[in-house]
């Protein structure tokens, strides 16, 4: 009785207004891109949440592995010299 093949999962991204980036809103199921776009409109923008939508099939997203977060992100931890506050400047200097 069950469906032969489940519709694939798509991720939905919304630009809430021009000038801002698209942000991930959630996901949904759809048979193809056209249906994914229509469903995204109905499910995620019922109250004018956006002016632009992106949909992408979830299988196309490559995600980093949280178990490798050490190697991935820790190297940036001790590089304080990448931040402006690392550099000592005289107090008289008002703007920089």
């Amino acid at each position: 009785m069950s469906t032969k093949k489940e519709w694939p999962i798509w991720e939905v991204f919304i630009r809430s207004k021009n000038g801002l980036e698209h942000r991930h809103a959630g996901s949904l199921h759809a048979a193809d891109a056209e249906m994914a776009m229509e469903n995204a409109r109905d499910v995620y923008t019922r109250r004018q949440e956006g002016v632009s939508l992106w949909v992408v099939e979830s299988k196309h997203i490559v995600a980093s592995n949280p178990e490798a977060n050490g190697e991935m992100f820790a190297p940036a931890e001790d590089k304080v010299y990448r931040h402006p506050t690392f550099y000592e400047l005289p107090i008289e200097l008002k703007h920089m």
Binding site: T3, K4, I9, L28, A31, D32, R46
Partner: protein, 318 residues
Amino acid sequence: MELDINKLENDFQARIDAGENIEPKSWMPEKYRKTHIRQISQHGHSEIVGMLPEGNWITRAPSLRRKVGLLAKVQDEAGHGLYLYSAAETLGISRDELFHQLHTGKAKYSSIFNYPTLSWADIGAIGWLVDGAAIINQVMLTRTSYGPYARAMVRICKEESFHQRQGYEMMLTLCAGTPAQKEMAQDALNRFWWPSIMMFGPRDEESPHTEQAMKWKIKLKTNDELRQQFIDITVPQAEILGLTIPDPDLKWNEETGHYDHGPIDWDEFWQVVKGNGRCNKERLGARVKAWDDGEWVRDAAMAFAEKKEKSKEAKKAS
């Protein structure tokens, strides 16, 4: 190996204690995953089945204003069900399996939807009381430890406040109407009051999962705490309507700063949970029928998508 699991579980608990959210690909104890699948899917199923008692009244709404409001509310509930199913799917269960669990009775949904909606005032009472109770639970859940669940709750809470307001406004209108209309509102309150306060689940002493759920920050308040919060908020709202809450023991307790309430009929609660409520069979039957009748549409859409994809590839190749 045993040691590794212990270490992983301790690290996991430490992350929860530090207020970190858990995300889909993070390591999590199997029981945390299973508890979430159960709770999120049950929540999603409640949204989906919850459309049925209200959908019953859309075509009989007394004005266009009421009709568009109710239609928008029911549409929101479909959306809320979808947000929740998506959150559950991040834990590795498929949408088909979620539906299968609902349709076979393995997964539950909120018992409140197994009560019939006999009059238009019931739609008002549902918005006011049932959505009111749901909001109290859901506001707590915006701070739950599982990221996708918490984010779905934020979205749902933003949208849901109108649900309660439209219901309360309906009750206000009826209470300012003819004596017969006010009587209808009182009758709806009489029937929906006790099932609404049962929505928070069994008393803390009889809720075996509560301790672990609090430790993992799946829940941040106990069933009884949430129930009390709901009663304290709702009693003054009933007073504004000029309606009487059907509990002769209900009274303000100066000492505790809360309302005391009379005993809840837990036997009724468990009967409905076990499937013996007035509408259990009807609700599930309607749900299964919709799913089965829609099967050819789902299959046709997929076949059409595959056909289009193939012809696109063929064009590219030629």
